[in-house]
């Protein structure tokens, strides 16, 4: 028997009967249905049917519904760019969320931004889940349409006049003004702030970040002499050691980091090399999941671990003490050796907002000589420029009542700081309080004036992510509402009423002297500097380190950011709420993650149904919160992990009352915000909660061996090997393919018609498991491109989510510290597609180009296909999510996020503007699934035909492919021998197909995951012919 064992959840790990029953079914039993509630009987149904059929006939006989055709009319008095209805226009722009930025192309149709595409000309082009989802935020119905005064609608003219007069009065009397901002990477906003301060000199500008990296800046101030966050070139590092760092997940410049990280993580036959990644971690993040070796440590042990590591690499430091876990102790020794062997080609990173930890990291990197090669201060980031200490001082001063005016520049401290009450009181007491939030958020609700900022897709701006590099922001649509850019508001109040577009134009000229048109066209300008850095002062850093105090009491808690809603500013974006967390696969909630052994101890692991999770009461420093419990394999013992960014109260119908707000539970360590704490207690309440959890269903089971096979052959879903073995044998981990080709070369069901793809196109896809980091940007991109509806927590709980593309996450090994594998799973477009031959109406069948096509209008909803799909990628429209059946009565549907049920969010005219007009919205009662973005295939072919030339490889890219910045997904034509797909299928030793032994002949090839481990773990599957 195979000794490989992969699992996705507790139930699968234990193979509980409930799990087996659930997984064997395609459709989870729904606990209650509306029909049952209403007591609709079969007779009623027939009566209704009879009526509706005759009514339809009568109605249709009487008149044809009239539709209007409105031409695209141009006001000839204005200079309007020419728009061709039906053809997309692209505008180069830049997205930033304060910790990351992306150079993007905004795709607009008939003037509406509908999708972001990566700006491939920029080294920083790409996509993140946040950037992809941000288009929907433009059409957020909860945005303020006009400025408000005391929560009543007002006009810019009157608001401006009042604000200016009040500011002048306050400034004249020497009253202090607090300008509270988040990280400002905008050059224009910085200028505006300067002007504002010049005009009102009593202004104190305080920047803070909800999730702060202040300690990094402060440590660098001590050891390097400047408070920078350096750029780290992960592609130049052979050994990467992370200490609670999530540099490819939610950290600073994660997109650029992940590109560089993956660049050195995909071995090939020609270049069988990859970096080694060690991760010391309390909770499991994407970064940890991608590491070759992980060592669980509690948050309080991090400093001790770093002291030990520093000693291990030859540094002189006192207070070396062994860690509690044997793995971690051995790990420090191993890592120390490897780091010494890779001097100047390694990096140690930590995201912990703790000064001593950051100083230790600097000391280690300095000793190893990593500055100037891997660590680059010449290109220091402008992200996360918040100052925790300044915020703490401000809070003290506000409490003392020394500020007469408070202005919140797109910041929300009432929600996301520990000084929530201080700010609340201060706003109420202040003579003047202004917020530039785009909605009446937690802070803005108390402010007298809310001067709504425009969305970035409606704005002119220049973003500077790091020195000498600039991202250009240009409007892709005129402001939908009477909003004004925050920078323009500040300039206005400073007495400068210049049009913001002209300010930006002048600024571009003054920065580079380059052609303004070039900036508009390319969307970025400037060049990263050559990497350089001076060596840090190691002894100064070490001098500041105090020995670790005695052991902590109680459980330790880690507060982390999820890659979906982030720090909470994206809470009202349903796409991000419904994007499953890469590790826990939970949507729409935060929860308390507990380590596996702890769960076992508490008896939580034996829950009957995994979606009905227990609710625990967690008490932290005297405050307690009730949260659902999720078991997280690989989490450090004695540690709990809870995400911040939830529990919004004033974000909008999608984000409000989702999860609990954990910001008030953070602590301050000498004015520096700490994202971990100790002394927590955990007790079960006896209540349970229905969690919107994916991947305990719609999952591939490796035990799906067909009983008809003479010998059980455990299939191939995830294949793995080690770099050592891969270097010896290119087909390592993939040896069974020969056996499969030999013994499983036919299908069990011989009625499949053979397909001839000898000419024309035969579409295919390559998914590289080494390049996929599990970030989820592709999932969001797919949903936006293909009008995939968001369904809400309750529907996800009922296993009725609609994602065409999911990222399966598999664990294997020791449940307390397993290896993790991510596997993007979408329709495999099998040649022998089991879904096709069970459809009674031939609604799904094969195209001449190898696509498994789905004709929605033909589908009658038997769902046989979904039942028969071995990859579980077909989705059924249980409800009319997108008003497709509503016959134009779109406005009758009201926004209904009752219990996070996003059922009718697409009933709003405004929200519907985001829909892709080239893809139909599916109505209730039909199946849908991944189409390989057929609309893009058709578009690509058409432009080739129009130009009268053959279609080039790479011309057609699926939405998931464009969103994948690490090139884990590559789409192409198998018939084009020059295409990446054809070449990979033909020559790569790592290529395999999922469940290949069943002979479905899928069109998606996966590349064996290679881990840079020294030896093959005993648990790995090793192919032995006699067992098969």
């Amino acid at each position: 028997m195979s000794n490989k064992k992969y699992w996705t959840s507790l139930g699968e790990l234990y193979e509980t009967p409930q799990y087996k029953e659930q997984a064997a079914k395609e459709f989870n039993s729904v606990e209650e249905t509306e029909a049952d509630d209403n007591g609709t009987s079969r007779r009623d149904f027939l009566k209704v049917m009879g009526f509706s059929v005759s009514a339809a006939a009568i109605a249709s006989a009487c008149k044809i519904p009239t539709h209007k055709a409105i031409p695209y009319t141009i006001d000839l008095r204005k200079q309007v760019p020419e728009v061709m209805p039906g053809v997309a226009d692209y505008f180069a722009s830049t997205f930033t969320d304060g910790s990351d930025f992306v150079n993007v192309l905004v795709k607009t149709r008939e003037g509406r931004p509908i999708k972001l595409e990566p700006n491939t000309e920029s080294p920083f082009g790409g996509a993140t889940a946040h950037s992809e989802a941000s288009v929907l935020s433009l059409y957020d119905t909860n945005r303020l349409a006009v400025p408000t005064n005391k929560n009543k609608k007002s006009t810019w003219k009157s608001v401006d006049a009042e604000i200016i007069s009040k500011l002048n009065t306050i400034a004249a009397s020497g009253g202090k003004i607090a300008l509270v901002t988040g990280t400002v990477t905008s050059v224009i906003t910085k200028k505006a702030i300067e002007k504002f301060v010049a005009k009102y000199p009593t202004t104190n500008v305080v920047a803070y970040d909800a999730v702060s990296y202040y300690a990094v800046r402060k440590a660098n101030q001590i050891s390097l002499g400047s408070s920078v966050i350096p750029m780290i070139h992960y592609d130049k590092a052979d050994v990467i050691v992370g200490f609670n760092a999530d540099f490819i997940g939610t950290g600073v410049a994660a997109l650029s980091n992940s590109k560089k990280y993956v660049a050195n993580r995909v071995p090939s036959k020609e270049n069988p090399k990859m970096s080694r990644h060690h991760q010391f971690q309390s909770n499991v993040t994407i970064t940890g999941a991608n590491a070759d070796y992980r060592y669980p440590i509690t948050p309080s042990e991090e400093k001790q671990a770093l002291i030990n590591l520093f000693a291990e690499i030859g540094g002189s430091i006192s207070g070396v003490k062994p860690l509690s876990g044997k793995d971690a102790n051995d790990g420090i020794k191993k890592v120390g050796k490897e780091l010494l062997a890779a001097k100047g080609k390694s990096v140690v990173v930590s995201d912990s907002n703790d000064l001593e930890i950051q100083l230790l990291v600097n000391a280690i990197n300095g000793t190893l000589g990593n500055y100037g090669t891997v660590i680059d201060t010449a290109n220091a980031y402008n992200f996360k420029s918040g100052n925790d200490e300044a915020l703490a001082t401000l809070a003290t001063d506000l409490k003392a009542g020394s500020y007469k005016a408070v202005i919140f520049l797109n910041s929300n401290p009432v929600y996301n700081t520990i000084y929530s009450d201080v700010f609340k009181d201060a706003i109420k007491k202040a003579e003047l309080s202004i917020s530039t939030a785009d909605r009446t958020d937690e802070t803005a609700q108390f402010c007298q004036y809310v001067c709504p900022d425009s969305n970035y897709l409606e704005s002119w701006d220049i973003i500077s992510p790091f020195a000498n590099f600039y991202g250009f922001v240009q409007p892709a649509i005129v402001p939908l509402f009477e909003t004004r850019q925050a920078a323009a508001s500040l300039l206005n109040w400073s007495g400068d009423t210049t049009d913001i577009a002209q300010v930006v134009q002048a600024e571009v000229a003054s920065i580079t002297g380059t052609n303004y048109q070039a900036a508009v066209q390319t969307g970025f300008f400037g060049q990263p500097a050559a990497p350089s850095a001076s060596s840090p002062n190691v002894s100064a850093a070490i001098a500041a380190i105090k020995p670790v105090a005695g052991a902590t009491k109680g459980m330790e808690v880690v507060f982390y950011e999820k890659s979906g809603v982030g720090d909470g500013s994206f809470a009202n974006n349903p796409f991000l709420q419904e994007m499953p967390d890469p590790l826990t696969k939970v949507t729409w909630d935060n929860y308390v993650c507990v380590p596996y052994s702890f769960a076992k101890e508490k008896g939580i692991d034996a829950q009957p149904a995994e979606k009905n999770v227990p609710i625990a009461k967690v008490t932290i420093n005297g405050k307690s919160v009730e949260l659902p419990v999720v078991v997280q394999f690989g989490q450090a013992l004695n540690t709990l992990a809870i995400a911040v960014g939830y529990g919004r109260e004033k974000s909008g119908p999608a984000g409000d009352a989702v999860g609990k707000n954990m910001y008030p539970f953070l602590t301050s360590n000498n004015g520096v915000t700490s994202y971990s704490t100790s002394g927590a207690t955990f007790e079960l309440t006896g209540k349970s909660y229905q969690l919107g959890l994916n991947q305990t269903y719609h999952t591939l089971m490796e035990d799906n061996a067909l009983p008809l096979r003479s010998k059980r052959y455990r299939g191939s879903i995830v294949k793995e090997t080690t770099l050592t073995d891969y270097t010896k044998n290119e087909k390592s981990g993939n040896e069974d393919r020969e056996h499969i080709k030999e013994h499983f070369s036919h299908s069990l069901y011989d009625a499949y018609k053979p397909h001839d793809y000898k000419q024309g196109h035969h579409w295919g896809m390559v998914v590289d498991l080494n390049a996929c980091i599990g970030c989820g940007a592709c999932v969001v991109a797919c949903s936006i491109e293909n009008n995939v509806p968001v369904v809400g927590r309750r529907q996800v709980y009922r296993s009725q989510e609609m994602h065409w593309l999911r990222i399966d996450r598999y664990y294997n090994g020791n449940p307390d510290n397993p290896d993790v594998a991510f596997q993007p799973m979408m329709c495999q477009h099998c040649n022998n597609a089991p879904c096709e031959n069970v459809c009674p109406v031939n609604a799904t069948n094969h195209s001449s180009e190898g696509l498994n096509q789905m004709a929605y209008n033909r589908c009658i909803g038997t769902r046989y296909c979904a039942n028969n799909c071995p990859y579980k990628v077909r989705r059924f429209n249980w409800l009319d999510y997108q008003a497709a059946d509503s016959f134009g009565k779109v406005n009758d549907g009201k926004m209904a996020f009752i219990d996070n049920e996003a059922q009718s969010y697409m009933f709003e005219d405004l929200t519907r503007m985001v829909l892709n007009p080239d893809v139909v919205t599916r109505s209730r009662g039909v199946i849908e699934k991944c189409s390989f973005c057929v609309q893009r295939i058709q578009e690509g072919k058409l432009s080739a035909k129009k130009a009268g030339r053959p279609l080039q490889d790479g011309e057609v890219k699926t939405a998931c492919q464009t969103a994948c910045s690490t090139n884990a997904i590559i789409f192409g034509d198998q018939n084009n021998k020059e295409s990446v797909v054809a070449k990979t299928f033909e020559t790569s030793g790592r290529n395999y197909f999922v469940l290949e032994e069943q002979h479905f002949l899928p069109a998606v090839g996966y590349q064996v995951k290679v881990r840079n481990k020294d030896e093959q773990p005993a648990r790995y599957f090793i192919y032995k012919p006699d067992e098969a």
């Binding site: 044809i64 000839l76 000419q759 080239d918 072919k941 030339r949």
Partner: protein, 425 residues
């Protein structure tokens, strides 16, 4: 008081101007322009050349019988002193004005929006041809109306042939009935002669017995089912749909008579999935100048001005344009993706193939059934432009077969044109 009363002065000036305007015909005696008789071949040729010149040079601003931008040109031979002066005016109007010619001054004082463009390239002969055309605009076109009448007569034949058909059917039925009664009577006579007692069943009973009723019922139900199915299939289809539109726009006039290319207004047809309905900005390219139509006069064009925000008196756009809410005629269901550029640019399909003879439509209508069967049929029959377009080199097998001659043509269906996801996604 020796000084003139200023009001009197102004009034008398106005009177003078009015007199001049009214009697402008009589400023000069005018000059003669020849008439062209029906048989005058040389004259007709002159008219033809004049017409072409008029269309190329003058028609943007002038019409024969009405004021457009410039004044109506019919009868100008009566207004000018001689042809030489007219020629000078045409060659360089502003220079001619300086000569102080009284009629030129009249023209200047008239409310003309813009000064006339100089046409120094027109020779005296050409101007003469134009004048001949202006005097005889219809010369040489006498035969055309007769031909038109003939076509109309041909079209009305269809109705009469139907009537004959019905008469024939009734005649045949009557004949059948007569023959049947004759034979049955003869049969009766023969059988009676042979000694059989034949019961005299009335004709009505013979027809309306149980069996025939059953047969009728069967036929009736088949017809009903066929009808219901046909009706159900046709649900939502609207071939021939020609709704009233907010503006009575005539394709017959624009495309048929004025020969405007389809793409001039439907700009997207080769570039986009939508052929696109022109906005008022495209209408106004011509209708800034063409202010009156042949059928509805100024009424319909005034609507365009209203929508586009154009003030014809001030000759400029004064308001933001409003949307014309045309009634959509071609309503494809949401689940069908159709791309005009694929068919027109790549496939080279004529607009008329799907839209009918639009150049003859006074009111736009849906010509094709727009049913799936109609689409599929065309995809089955239409040949792909395989040789011309290098994109199709990807179909190597077909290319070889075409070369060898084993295949004579490649249809859209051959290259996957009937796949579901060519139109449904």
């Amino acid at each position: 008081m020796h000084s003139c009363n200023p009001i009197r002065k102004i009034l008398s000036l106005i009177a003078l101007v009015l007199l001049l305007t009214v009697t402008s015909n009589s400023v000069y005696a005018g000059f003669a322009v020849p008439d062209v008789a029906a048989g005058d071949a040389a004259g007709i040729q002159n008219v033809g050349e004049g017409k072409a010149l008029f269309k190329a040079n003058c028609a943007a601003c002038h019409a024969i019988d009405k004021k457009v931008v410039g004044p109506a040109l019919g009868g100008i031979w009566d207004k000018w002193e001689n042809e030489a002066k007219l020629t000078d005016w045409i060659h360089n109007p502003s220079k001619f004005l300086e000569s102080g010619d009284p009629y030129a001054q009249v023209l200047k004082s008239n409310d003309i929006e813009s000064p006339m463009t100089p046409f120094p390239q027109l020779t005296t002969d050409q101007i003469n041809d134009i004048l001949v055309y202006l005097k005889n605009p219809n010369a040489g076109e006498a035969a055309a109306p007769a031909a038109a009448t003939a076509t109309t007569a041909g079209a009305s034949d269809e109705g009469s042939s139907n009537w004959y058909l019905w008469a024939l059917i009734i005649f045949l039925l009557t004949l059948a009935g007569l023959l049947w009664s004759v034979t049955s009577k003869l049969d009766k006579v023969v059988r009676e002669k042979e000694g059989e007692v034949v019961e005299d069943v009335p004709l009505s009973k013979k027809i309306f017995n149980k069996n025939t009723l059953l047969v009728l019922l069967l036929i009736g139900s088949i017809l009903l089912v066929v009808n219901i199915f046909g009706g159900a299939i046709d649900l939502g289809r609207s071939q021939g749909y020609a709704p009233d539109q907010p503006i009575r726009f005539s394709h017959a006039l624009h495309v048929g008579q004025n020969q405007i290319e389809c793409q001039y207004c439907h700009v997207g047809v080769e570039k986009s999935r939508h052929a696109s309905i022109p906005g008022t900005q495209i209408c106004m390219n011509c209708h800034k100048y063409v202010q009156e139509g042949p059928k509805y006069g100024k009424d319909e064009i005034a609507k365009i001005y209203e929508y586009s925000g154009w003030d014809p008196d001030k000759s400029k756009f004064v308001r933001e344009p409003k949307n014309i809410e045309w009634v959509k005629i071609h309503n494809l269901p949401d689940h069908v993706y159709f791309n005009h550029s694929q068919h027109v640019k790549v496939g080279g399909i004529k607009c008329q193939t799907c839209h009918g003879k639009v150049e003859e439509y006074e009111v736009m209508k849906q010509f094709a059934p727009l049913s799936m069967g109609w689409c599929i049929n065309c995809h089955r029959q239409t040949e792909v432009k395989f040789a011309e377009n290098k994109y199709y080199s990807v179909f190597q097998k077909y290319q070889d077969e075409l070369k060898k001659g084993t295949k004579s043509k490649i249809t859209v269906e051959d290259i996957g044109g009937t796949d579901c996801q060519k139109c449904h996604y």
